[in-house]
Symmetry: C2
Subunit: 186 residues, 2 copies
Amino acid sequence: MIDWREFDQNPVSHSAAHHLTSIQQLLEEQGYARVSDVARKLGITRGSVSVSLKGLRQRGLVIEDQHKHLGLSEEGHRIARGIHTKRVLFQAFLRESLGLPDELAELDACKVEHLVSDVTAEALALFLERRPADDEARAELAEQVKVLEKSIKEGRVETFPCKEIEDFSSELMRKNELENNTHDDE
Amino acid sequence: MIDWREFDQNPVSHSAAHHLTSIQQLLEEQGYARVSDVARKLGITRGSVSVSLKGLRQRGLVIEDQHKHLGLSEEGHRIARGIHTKRVLFQAFLRESLGLPDELAELDACKVEHLVSDVTAEALALFLERRPADDEARAELAEQVKVLEKSIKEGRVETFPCKEIEDFSSELMRKNELENNTHDDE
DNA sequence: TCAACCTGTTTGGGTAGCCAAACGAATGAG
DNA sequence: CTCATTCGTTTGGCTACCCAAACAGGTTGA
């Protein structure tokens, strides 16, 4: 069993990820970023942002000039860029390969962006480069997804996973175990 | 901007997800599950498990018989099965479509399993069914991934994202925005 | 000049997790 | 029977977030 607590052992927390990317975005959008700008963008109070940024300043990710204008250190900038890149990659995958509607793709990408490893993100980029959006397949998937969404919303299928998917995943698991055993034999 | 705090607005937390799936797994493996079994499996203290399970019991997800043996309610069982299914689906995708090594696939799948929406999981299942592992492509990707991993470990590339990937993601973003604009025009 | 407003900070309160330590109850060995 | 172990629970302490509220400093318009 893998250590499941690696979950919150990431370079930056979900919260910190959004603080950093907000600053970066504000700098691009309006040229500066202050505590209240970040608070407004994230929808939390100035007090919360003030406290959070104190930590990020101590960790050397965020800097502040004489006029209380925020900036990112080189490290902070790198981290923000990394998270943003992961978000874009995942969103693209969810939209274009899985045919998910835009909003859901954005939401789910946002949830996982700071959790996936760098290697996984790189692999995803390679995958997307190699298999660029196949519009036909995508449209077909999008159609099926739309039907699914509707069923769920109407309460016709309130139970995930449905039988088909569970069977499919059981099969995947079986194949996985098989493969591991052959590897172990080497 | 999407509400980034949906992050911890999921039916179950990362912690709860593991408590539930542990119980389910223990029931399968040894026919029963007690507080200490769960604690051992999760690598945390009995006290922590005791407290966590109190909450899950109040929420009606976990039940307990006269002999302090734990079980899952119908709802609890459904949730545990759902999370497990998502884990399997993501792990399969990371391994077979992205060519990631087994351990990393398991780790990353474990991090996101409880966060992704049901619809996303269903879409992923459809995707995997439609594009079963292409062994050739997978081997090729695995090779590239191996090289990447090595570079990162040796510190030759300590910076994610590298230039290529960032350029690629910029392009994805550009395409995304273009598409949104065309949709807006409709 | 002075009140109104906006800023950033601090403080006390709340939730969710984790730990270590202490406890009572049950169980098992001798 | 007794002592040691195991089990589940409770408690106090910790971190990481969030909020609301109070406060201090700066700007600005009348």
